[in-house]
């Protein structure tokens, strides 16, 4: 019996020793780096070239006396003469538009319900926005900054006065003229609760005036459909 035990012990010891010796010495530890983002410290991706943006070439030579530069005691703005401004390089604008559309289609579905000529601008609502979706009547209006500024101003003025146990939403339609003035506000699709509808309408009214429409945009008026959602909890 004792012999069997000793033999068994020796055999086990031999097997373990063999395994230890035969295993090649290779560290199995790997430094866990998590999600590594490779950053180039030497070169940044080139910014989309802005022609003559800050180059001295683009600076007009000192204005001559007959140029419409008003020298006044009160500071006055001198609107840049339009012909001086070189047209934006169209080939570079185009691909931007193309990349813009699929995003809108594949991204959050616009619950405002697009009709003919309307364009979904929900992607300009910004991260964390409380709005459900947005659409614009003028498809040529492509100024994301204007949407970001306008929608955040409306959001600041929106206070929800109701508590409901079901999701509700209301679509407000409003029109903005060049100066940023809102000339028409109406409830396009009611939530069914007057207090909620009027709170949404009030949020747009309180945001008067919105930022003026960009100078490059030639239309006089834009129409926006904005969805105000509410979900319980």
């Amino acid at each position: 019996m004792k012999q069997d035990l000793a033999l068994s012990f020796l055999l086990h010891f031999a097997v373990i020793l063999t395994l230890v010796i035969l295993t090649p010495f290779k560290p199995q530890y790997k430094l866990d780096m998590g999600d590594v983002i490779n950053v180039s410290l030497t070169a940044l991706p080139a910014v989309q070239p802005q022609p003559e943006v800050m180059e001295p070439v683009a600076i007009p030579t000192p204005v001559t006396a007959d140029e419409p530069v008003a020298v006044v005691t009160e500071t006055k703005s001198i609107t840049e003469a339009k012909p001086v401004e070189k047209p934006k390089p169209k080939p570079k604008e185009k691909p931007k538009d193309d990349s813009y559309k699929p995003k809108a289609e594949t991204g959050k579905e616009n619950r405002a319900g697009l009709e003919n000529g309307q364009k979904d601008v929900s992607e300009n609502l910004g991260a964390g926005s409380r709005f459900g979706g947005a659409a614009i009547d003028n498809a040529s209006f492509n100024y994301p900054y204007w949407f970001v500024q306008s929608f955040s101003k409306i959001e600041r003025n929106w206070t929800n006065p109701v508590y409901a146990n079901e999701p509700i939403s209301c679509i407000i339609y409003f029109q903005v003229i060049r100066s940023g003035r809102i000339i028409k506000i109406e409830v396009e699709r009611s939530s069914g609760i007057d207090a909620f509808d009027s709170a949404c309408e009030r949020a747009v009214k309180l945001s008067q005036p919105l930022p003026p429409l960009p100078n490059e945009f030639t239309d006089e008026i834009i129409g926006i459909h904005l969805e105000f959602p509410y979900s319980p909890g």
């Binding site: 030497t42 910014v47 000192p62 500071t75 840049e80 600041r156 930022p211």
Partner: protein, 439 residues
Amino acid sequence: MKRFDKIFIIAILSILGTSVFGQSGLNVKDYTGRLQERRTFEPTKIAVEEARYVGIEYITAFDSVIIRNCGIILQNDLDFSPYFENVPLDTFFMRHMEMDRMTLLGWKRLAAQYVIKLEVEFPRNNIRVRYRLYSTDSEREIKKERFETAKGDYRALVHEIANDIVKSLLGDEGIYRTKIVYSRKYGDAQELFIADFDGKNERQLTNNGSINILPAFSPDGEYIYFTSYVDDEPHIYMLNLKTNSVDLIASNPGLNTAPEVSPDGKSIACVLTKDGNSEIYLLDRKGKIKKRLTNSWAIETAPTWSPDGKEIAFTSDRAGSPQIYIMDKEGLNVRRISYHGNYNDSPCWSPRGDRIVYASRGSQFRIVSVDVTGKDFRVLADYGNNENPSLSPDGNHIIFTSTRMGVQELYTMDIFGRNQRKISSGGGCSNPAWSPYIK
């Protein structure tokens, strides 16, 4: 039997579940009037690059200081607004990116949403500044505009640029060309001074060696109404800012003080003691009494108009201690709106119409605000003695006096009580009033 028990329990639970969670129909509770779901907003992050000289002539050292100041003033102006946050230049970031000049993408990586570049030149002893506003998201220029003025007025020019940027991005009128007027100790006297909204460009308005206090602007910003003891008695005067001429408005027996011009500019609410007790009266612009608005044994003072000109808030001790009340402009429908603190004074109605700011005494005076029904009490400034609040024409900023640093100085803050800045030095400042928009 056990299976039956289980089925029975499940059935009971499902019935309970339906009744508790599955109510049919829309259950809506209306909380109108209470602030629900108010969230803090993210200010727009904006970067201002150092101004660059783009002229073709040599400039003096003084000119280069002006160029540098242009960028700094614009940064300060935009940072003053509660809706903008200045993104400072991060030289550590630039060093590691091996950049000698920030690009739009670089600014974007520093979280800036907009970048402003300034180009300065000095034609014919003037200063001309062109600003370019870029969006870092779309990486394109949003707006460019050029301004020119006499070289000495470069501060006003940069304030005008800040106004233009606020207009472009927020749609609102900027307050950067507005003025403040205040009373300041000057030897034994108290004289009126006027300055830019940031306390710069201070200029003395009165120099009569007497006590001049409680100034208030007319709605067009051209006149200042104030109380002066220049004739030994407290009378109300009107100062024309263009001609610097002073006219006597009210010299009734006793106290003539605390003038406040109505938003339509046709009436002046003020405090007179001609009938023995301090009461609020309505005068026309020439000083003729139109109406007595309050009539009680108590002391009524410090009237302030609602922006629609239909109501007046004032201080009264009719309840035993000074508290804030509102009445309509006929003197009727009086209701109390202050319930915190045993001494509340100096109300100022926000030009937006939604809130009233006043000084409230706890252990010390602090600046507080309530909505027009007296609810939603908020403490805005409470370190040292904080008094005499006055609101900017956009309703976003408050100027007040504070003794937090020992002497009484002027401070500004936004309507949420943030971004508190000392804008005066030398002490002895009191009764600030913010001008309306100046065209």
